[in-house]
Symmetry: C2
Amino acid sequence: MSAPKPSSRTGSRAAGQPTGSRSPGKSHRRFLLPFQGEALSPPPVWLMRQAGRYLPEYRATRDEAGSFLDLCYSPRHATEVTLQPIRRYGFDAAILFADILVVPDALGQKVTFEAGEGPKLEPIRTAADLARLDPAKTGGKFSLICETVERLRGELPDETALIGFCGAPWTVATYMVQGEGSSDQAEARLWAYRDPQGFQKLIDTLVETSIDYLDRQVKAGADALQIFDTWAGTLPDNEFDKWVVAPTKAIVAALKERHPEVPIIGFPRGAGGAALWYVDETGVDGIGCDTAMPPYMMSEAFEDEDVVVQGNLDPLLLVAGGDALDERVDEILELMEGRRFIFNLGHGIVPQTPPENVARLVHRVRGE
Amino acid sequence: MSAPKPSSRTGSRAAGQPTGSRSPGKSHRRFLLPFQGEALSPPPVWLMRQAGRYLPEYRATRDEAGSFLDLCYSPRHATEVTLQPIRRYGFDAAILFADILVVPDALGQKVTFEAGEGPKLEPIRTAADLARLDPAKTGGKFSLICETVERLRGELPDETALIGFCGAPWTVATYMVQGEGSSDQAEARLWAYRDPQGFQKLIDTLVETSIDYLDRQVKAGADALQIFDTWAGTLPDNEFDKWVVAPTKAIVAALKERHPEVPIIGFPRGAGGAALWYVDETGVDGIGCDTAMPPYMMSEAFEDEDVVVQGNLDPLLLVAGGDALDERVDEILELMEGRRFIFNLGHGIVPQTPPENVARLVHRVRGE
């Protein structure tokens, strides 16, 4: 087995080097300060899927835009839905509204979103399917996304950071190969076992395309980047190394070469203890923690890795609300007191979330 | 947050006490020897869901039995399908053929299995729903299951151990509340947040019923027990303590009081690093490791906990077969050499598994 026990940092970044300092001075965007070495109290706060179906104004804009992908590719509408939660809650960061399946769509795979059914893709299973993907053709669609980034940087309050993102190659590949969401990602995992070289070509295409996509987002005005690896948690250690760690490391290295000042947050959902190894090897500046990440990992283990910790309230507590929500917010704040920390959820906001509970959360985090 | 960093054993069992020795002498069933302190080479081997749809003879027996629950409650048919993989592969242990939803069914909840759709239950969401569950009525259905155990003990080769099992209260509750399988167990988790006392009543009912059910299985002839907690991995640490650790601890304690010689294996799937805490607190004798369990946990961390390790080959490698399968089997054997170890999968056999790959695995493990 190839993944050794995580040890102190020996990986891509030198220890003790605060990252993400865009200028010699401190950023005026609070969200960026933890990456410049500051432990803030209260911590910056934003929430995954903060622009989404739980907001009535989002539903109205989406209805106006047409299909879900139409919304992603309409700079005017995508800008509007990105701004909606900032207006309501004044989060410290906005995240570009788009979808991780923009990348396969831009590469030429057929992607549709049926209402209430999740995404459907024409599955890629063979070398011939793979050969039809064309990184050279992504420019048009990526330009639309980057126009949203530019508009956002113009319209966001100056103190609000803007996060760009992509899906990690492994997670995007699971959808591309399965043709839809799945609980076990069986088709991608089987391909990787049966034909690792062929599967590597798909991953390489995604690495190359993701680098280009994120580079464009930064040039358009993104202050930070997040790489979403939703399905990182089901892989055995050697497969985790090959399909999660190595591609992410390649993306981070390429982005760091071009934009050393832009912090990158990795979110290997479900990775548990392997997240230490992931942080050590990939060189990410921040680690997104899912709901099940043990507290000692968040407060101690990652500290040794010199990485900003982000997370990890259960999105279902935001549905439940009440004292249970307040108590858990307080527990997380107490646990992370004095650490370089960004408050977030452990997974995205779910549609049935009452918007007033989000306000309650933000007030609680800020001690208002 | 309530779960401290796992430390050396301070929990339910004294350190250094080999468990599971039914008699003063060594068992003649190899499967039981690791629980008596022996590290075997080659290790004992059995596979989760070794009786199942990948076997043509299983499909034939199931068609004859009627519905899936009919099969579970027919001692003749359930005995037959339990024996089928033993005849083919000579596994060191057989596992009683049944389903974790036998418990809610016996408690009076309506449970059905639609072909290709998974289980459907009339969901339990209120105190009134809960009040209709009746532990006093479980005897009839549990007797049918235990008749299967008795028949099996009579028909199995004498050297083959027989494993009884139940679903852990948390995992069974997720189905009872959701009414079906789900990727996020949202309904059970929401109930637990909104009304922890009410949800505790459901868990208590399941603890009490599971103790009775497992006690009966042991009295009928089970040599060992496994507690399946398939959905343990999505819970935050404090919820993991309340709904996974505490109920399992109660079940283990009650069974240990009645049958101190019978080893109990816990399988908190997806628990990652929290599995150390789980082992320490619950007092299980064996820990089932899922596919994503990091190797250093299997070979080092659990060693300090004096627990038998079981796992963790990816079931999809058993579909893929070939050199990739052999190489991974060898890696796991090498990793666990000299440890008290039982070879198994990290999750159940999937239906599309070629039976010849299972034979290949068993030969490889045994160095034949």
